[in-house]
Every structure is written in C-alpha cells, then in structure tokens.
C-alpha cells in the first residue's frame, strides 16, 4: 500500500527561481531564506518519496480565465514547464504517475470532491519553485510528481475549510492505493502578500506565524476565517496560504513537527516553510 510519509509547505515566489538560476542563493538578501530550507531538504532526502504531489495555484500559464477549475489534478505521464511571459527560464520536464493520478481522481470524486482531470497540463512557477528549492534544479528530476491546482486567482475560490477537507480525502485516497509507494505532499503558496492596489506591499508577520503554528498543531483554527477575513489579514495574494491546508488535511492530526522556518521579505512576501512527518500507519 502507498504510504504518505509526510508533507512540506513552502512559498513559491517567482524570485526564488531567479535566485536559484542566477546562483545568488548565498548572497545576503537570500542566505537566511535558503539556509532555512536545509533541514527540510535533509528530511526529504531521508523520507525518500517515489512521488511528490504538489498543491499550487496556476498563475495564468495552463489556465486562462475562460475555464477556471476550483481543483484540478494532473493525470498525465509527463508535465512541461513553459514561458510565463516574464523571463523565468523553463526547467526540464517532469515525470508523472498516471496510474496513481487516476486512482486519486476516482477516489476524490467518490468522496464528493468533483475535481477537474487534466491529461495535459503545463506547470508554472508555483509547481516548479518548491521542487527547485527542495531538490535543486535537476535534469532529470529525481522523483515523480503530480500537480494538483487550487484556484486562488479568480474568486470565488474555495474556503480554508474546503481545502482542509480536500486534504483529508486526498490522504484517504493515497492510503488506499495498492502499490507500495512513498508519497510526500507539498502545500505551496503564500504567505502574506498583496501585489495589487494601493495596499500592495502588505506583509503580516504576526498572522503568518499564527498560521504556521496553528496549521502544524490545530489546522481547524484556520477554518474560522472566511476568505475575506484571510485577505484582510494576509493580503489578496496571501489567500494562497489556504493551500497549506490541503497538505495538512492529508496527514494525521498528530503529525510530528520536524521543522519551521519563516523569513520576510522575499520580494513582497512573507515566506514560510513547515515540515510535518506523518504518524499514521
């Protein structure tokens, strides 16, 4: 049976990809941010997953506004990164696991999560940057990957509570998969930031730390907030933090805290990392 070994949450800021590509990760602006990934990288190496499911939002690479699925699961054997229009060089293609994807899709729909299935899917920086931050820039990539997108761009977007429930359904689906696979989930995005409007530049350190602490030990805490309340505190783009709950919901309630890291600013954003090890059988 497949085993969900644990989960990592991380921001997926575009500038992270540029810093890795330009070899500036040890410069003063970046050093503290990237050094804080080292314990997460060490845990991931030890966890040694066969498959990583990356939960992220597409930012206008695969999905335009003509069709915006609330949740979409990649169901292909490979996924390509591509030009997003603003200069990030595409990385090597990723290998998927179509059998696992379709098993997850069936299970999620049986559990009343009527997700969109995608047999072609371009993956953008939201998917790529967490993998680069945690594995380095690889060709080929050392692990199979499955993209799972959440709409956080065009409102209405799903609630924090819904994302947590999706995670629980995803955890059940993984546990039911008959192949002996080791799986890790990345929940990406956030934390507080607002790119648009006269309020651009907002970073809310207090709320970010509350989110990290509570998502680790009591994720239901986050479901008290409406999306409007989250945006009021964390900025419009800070709503991405709800995707951390997909990872968290998949793990056992008593998942073990391995690592917490927070740094700000990275570009306009409060950047957090959380590593949890699953304790379920």
């Amino acid at each position: 049976m497949a085993k969900l070994v644990g989960g990592i949450t991380t921001s997926h800021i575009p500038a992270v990809g540029n810093a890795i590509a330009s070899g500036t990760t040890q410069e003063p602006y970046w050093k503290r941010f990237f050094d804080g990934y080292e314990p997460a990288k060490a845990w991931l190496q030890e966890a040694n997953p066969d498959v990583v499911i990356v939960v992220y939002n597409d930012h206008g690479l695969n999905f335009f506004l003509d069709k915006v699925p609330t949740f979409a699961l990649g169901c292909a054997d490979h996924y390509e990164n591509a030009d997003e229009g603003w200069g990030l060089q595409p990385v090597a293609p990723f290998t998927g696991d179509a059998e696992l994807s379709w098993f997850l899709a069936e299970s999620l729909i049986e559990q009343e999560f009527d997700i969109c299935t995608c047999q072609e899917m371009k993956v953008d920086h939201g998917f790529v940057n967490p993998l680069r931050a945690l594995y380095g820039t690889c060709d080929p990539w050392p692990v199979k990957t499955i993209p799972l997108t959440v709409n956080t761009v065009l409102h209405p977007v799903p609630s924090a509570a819904r994302c947590l429930k999706l995670g629980r359904a995803l955890g059940k689906a993984i546990a039911d998969y008959p192949e002996d696979l080791r799986v890790v989930i990345f929940g990406t995005g956030g934390m507080s930031h607002q790119l648009q409007g006269e309020r651009a530049g907002l970073i809310n350190v207090d709320f970010d730390l509350e989110c990290i602490d509570n998502i680790a030990r009591d994720p239901e805490w986050m479901t008290q907030f409406s999306n409007a309340e989250i945006m009021r505190r964390a900025g419009t783009e800070g709503i991405e933090t709800i995707m951390w709950l997909v990872m968290r919901g998949a793990l056992a309630d008593e998942a073990k805290l391995i690592h917490k890291h927070y740094h700000a600013p990275i570009s306009n954003t409060g950047a957090g990392v959380l590593v949890l090890e699953n304790t379920a059988a």
């Binding site: 335009f64 229009g85 065009l154 309020r199 306009n268």
Partner: protein
C-alpha cells in the same frame, strides 16, 4: 441586474479579482495571456495599438495599455498576474508596479518591505521551535 456585493469590497486599496471584476476587462486579460508566447510579445512591441485592436481591447482599456498606466489597468479590472506578463518584459517589476499603485518610488517601496526583516529576525530569535540558523 446587479453584481452581488461581497464582504471583501471594503478592504482599502484592494481590488479582489472576482467574476464581477473580470467580466468587462476579459479581452484585456486575454491579451495579457497571449504574452506567454515570445512572438506575441514581439508583435505587441512593434505596434501596441494594432495588437490591442486584434484582441478587441478598446476605449479606456486600450488607452491605459498605450499609456502603460498599471494602476489604471488594475482599476479597470486587469488581473495582477496577467498584467505582469505585460509589465515585467517592459522593465516594470511587480515591485515597480506596487510603488506606482502607492504613488511612491520603487526605492521607498522596497525600503518599507526590507524594514520588516529586522522585526522578523528579532521575533524568530525568541521563538524556540523555529529555525534560527
């Protein structure tokens, strides 16, 4: 017929991108989306007005594009991620745009952000279970 109001409408300095906001500027955002392809970016650079016409971007939308008025486009319903596909290749970073939205220089905008770093390092140093280097 009215657009439904929302509990996020009164967040100051904020334009939540929802169905109502995305409806009228659909052609504008569709034009931005075309900039994922280098040949389209080049075609736009050669003649922005003609490229707007090709995508049905008209009137105040077209005027804001030609003027590179990013706050104007945002107020008209441009999505920030799609608008970045126009702005960044033209040398306007998301931080430059943020500064324009606030009516300050990019240097001031970045300095305000960087001022957070000291607070963060001091806070995290007091937190026992966070990574502290």
């Amino acid at each position: 017929m009215v657009w439904k109001s929302h509990d996020y409408d009164d967040i100051p300095g904020t334009y939540v991108f929802d169905g109502g906001r995305s409806h009228k500027p659909y052609a504008l955002n569709k034009m931005f989306y075309s900039f994922n392809e280098a040949q389209n970016r080049e075609e736009f650079d050669r003649d922005p007005a003609a490229y707007c016409d090709k995508y049905g971007v008209k009137g105040e939308f077209k005027a804001a594009v030609i003027a590179q008025d990013y706050l104007g486009m945002l107020r008209l319903g441009a999505n920030i991620y799609f608008m970045a596909k126009m702005a960044v290749p033209r040398g306007v970073s998301v931080q430059d745009a943020g500064a324009q939205f606030q009516g300050i220089t990019t240097e001031e905008f970045v300095a305000r952000l960087l001022a957070k770093r000291e607070e963060v390092e001091r806070r995290i140093a007091q937190e026992k279970d966070y990574w502290n280097g």
